[in-house]
Symmetry: C2
């Protein structure tokens, strides 16, 4: 493959990876999506308990950004007291494969570090 | 799936995704790995030109971290002037599938935003 062809191909994919990471940036966003991959819908308090170490404030910030990026849908439930549930949009669900591969690599990685 | 079983399964995978993102954190690391996925080995200046927007200082920081995480191998070449090349370790190459899925999602995402 000539250097130019390499550059063109490589740059296109590197930019695509960069685009993906622009949306998924930050330490928690991918974990929130991973939780929602597992359930039809999840309440704020449930997501908070599913992700070790995330703060209330950080979770609401990440959910707001995911909502504005149209990856997550927020529904206000007609309950007493009022509750809010979150689910992946069809577009958000398109991340399932990426999440699955990250999870697989992450668990193999843990073995690699622990040895 | 009972709530407990859900929690156990979900938490294990969410932690695995979190472990993966701990290694791949930051805006540029995945782009550096993506470039090295494409080539047997790449020089510093070549990587710098392959990734739009990354600074010299940031690239050397990310390469140092990737080296200490044993994802990248650094080789000093016996040339005049001396040059340094970088390549993925076998362990680093285990990220190829994650990178491929991120690139695919990223390019579809670009269509989704541009509409």
């Amino acid at each position: 493959m000539s250097e130019n062809a390499f550059n063109k191909d490589c740059r296109k994919d590197v930019r695509a990876v960069h685009d993906a990471m622009d949306v998924l940036n930050g330490k928690w966003k991918i974990s929130v999506i991973a939780v929602l991959c597992y359930s039809k819908e999840r309440r704020f308090s449930e997501i908070l308990s599913d992700i070790e170490g995330i703060s209330n404030k950080m979770l609401s910030k990440e959910l707001k950004e995911l909502e504005s990026d149209r990856l997550v849908k927020r529904t206000v439930l007609d309950t007493q007291p009022i509750a809010v549930s979150y689910e992946l949009t069809p577009y958000g669900k398109s991340l399932k494969e990426v999440i699955m591969h990250l999870a697989r690599w992450g668990s193999e990685h843990r073995q690699h570090i622990i040895g």
